[in-house]
Subunit: 399 residues, 2 copies
Amino acid sequence: MTEGNPLALPEDHLFGPDNLPYGVFTTEEEPDLRRIGVRYGDSVLDAGAAAEAFGSPHAELLRAALLNPLMAAGRDVWRAVRAELRGWLTEDAHRETVVQYLHPLTDVTMHLPFEVADYVDFYASEHHATNVGRIFRPDGDALTPNWKHLPIGYHGRAGTVVVSGTPVVRPQGQRRPKGEEQPSFGPSARLDIEAEVGFVVGSPSTPARPVAQADFREHVFGVCLLNDWSARDIQAWEYVPLGPFLGKSFATSVSAWVTPVDALDEARVAAPERTHALLPYLDDTGGSQEPGGFDLRISVALNGEKLSEPPFSAMYWTAAQQLAHMTVNGASLRTGDLFASGTVSGPEPDQLGCLLELTVGKGPFLQDGDEVTLTAWAPGPDGSRIGLGEVSGKVHPAS
Amino acid sequence: MTEGNPLALPEDHLFGPDNLPYGVFTTEEEPDLRRIGVRYGDSVLDAGAAAEAFGSPHAELLRAALLNPLMAAGRDVWRAVRAELRGWLTEDAHRETVVQYLHPLTDVTMHLPFEVADYVDFYASEHHATNVGRIFRPDGDALTPNWKHLPIGYHGRAGTVVVSGTPVVRPQGQRRPKGEEQPSFGPSARLDIEAEVGFVVGSPSTPARPVAQADFREHVFGVCLLNDWSARDIQAWEYVPLGPFLGKSFATSVSAWVTPVDALDEARVAAPERTHALLPYLDDTGGSQEPGGFDLRISVALNGEKLSEPPFSAMYWTAAQQLAHMTVNGASLRTGDLFASGTVSGPEPDQLGCLLELTVGKGPFLQDGDEVTLTAWAPGPDGSRIGLGEVSGKVHPAS
């Protein structure tokens, strides 16, 4: 890094030239003009304006108000744009031009970066599923018989996915307190978080044409952090037999930054050893595929104090398996589909991704005014680190 | 009706001047130009072209390629547009103009009429839930303890909602045959239908502001028929604990026509007597609200032969209750949200809405080449009938 270079970053910065996540921002001067931004250090590059200045063939895609057109453009374009961005931000010849399009992160407002098509939530941590199974179904087996054979998932509400920083109003609803015969109505008394990783689909797929695990990179544009807020009392009363509904649908928070899959090349790790043989479309034990796991180190903080450090590398089911499973029945993907991992929990007591597990079902759960923040980083090239955008939310009283 | 009047219809026509459902069509001459159509008799009115010819203030909304802008415009506009359409189609002074914008139904291709935002599927027939509970959980109570306290629902896949006439490719997936330890993979051997009614949201709602039952007409734009195709073997293996996923997500068919809620005024009926006291937000036993049920007479045909006649008036939970429940936790509505009733089944053996019930779980289920068609009508003014658009689909072999 050159002395006096305004683009120079400390070597250990989480948002260096190997990261370059995408978001959507506005400035105070033009609060109605949503623009695609790329995070670099503690700045945001106005990607559309820079692309125009450099005469990029992708200026139109980068001039959009949402990431969806870029996401739909496909992997070749993603790679070309990423190479351009890296060049503008790191090559001396471009410095004078590119600095004109940088905004301090503190001066901009971030927005939901993409329009969510369908939102699917999985249940891919064996530790989480086991812990929750013991709490919710104390008289049965912790894991249901299907758990080791397929990545269990369900559809969530796309319309209530919100960007990091959006207040989360405590939901009201029906719950039946222990020992009572009748349900009662009121604000959830067991409001929880779920620390998750979300995967954002760029290229759509064709109806009735399943997507193979090997085609993960063709379809998945990027990765975000996700907090699947959960009202445990509402969920416990409603979820048999058709699954979670109002216990989850009030809000799902995602980070403002979507990290390209290509930024996580050094974070690829093999999934845990499979204890059951898998059907061919889910099998990932052959040597020909790249490892399906990602070594993301998540940190969960409540009001600024660290609660736990869930390791994403411990997830039993990978995102590539989830993609293959989700489409194996012929269901197609759309640009903007978001699928999340389910709560990330590791084997240790300080690696659990929700309060239900951290308190063994006893609470305390979230109080009004509590603020939860998820952060994460992954190994990058040459010992560097790739940061994921944080996802944060503060609990507001029931309305 | 005037002799020689090209707009004259038989009195008992299901698509007369009190119906006027909306759809989206293309013509053979302009296959890429999607236009809003209004069904009148066996014709389709090009609503945008007619609106321009008549100088309507709503021409822009009716010139759209989807119903969403009209749906978003709100109830006052829906009523004004409906009054205009009725005037153009029934007043002698307009006849010469309006006939220029009519296309024979047989000359047009119908498309998915609106962009689906979130899709929610309920489980609102007591007869259906009881019958299915007995088949899926023979050792437990047929109805779960929550069933009479809240309308159970779950989110489905919005991206695979297709218009009537779209082929349905038999899904493949995991299922575990009875008595087997391991699941196997292959085409579903228990492909089924679910005869349902769908409700289409027009006006969005505000986050954290529940929608009351009394505001049903402010938010719900119209009604369609819906076939929730279901692979029973895939569903049975996957659905515990998080609900149906791949057993449903391959395809959901909707009718090409959306019938305005105002066209069903004469079809309003009280819901069945409530056997359990309801929490205030779900209570509909007070006399001040309009009846929440709809007297829709559904008919299910397999390869042209009538299978059953499910009565929508027998549904335990009403659409207004579903709307109130779906938003009571603060979840907001978007224009294009679609919520469906769940399988409509009545108390009699010839009133069941799926093959699982009609065959008491034994089959036969759908064969490749089978075609299922749902039709329905409701009482209209002065003894007339209001037809709902049919929803039809043919099973294609697994790919």
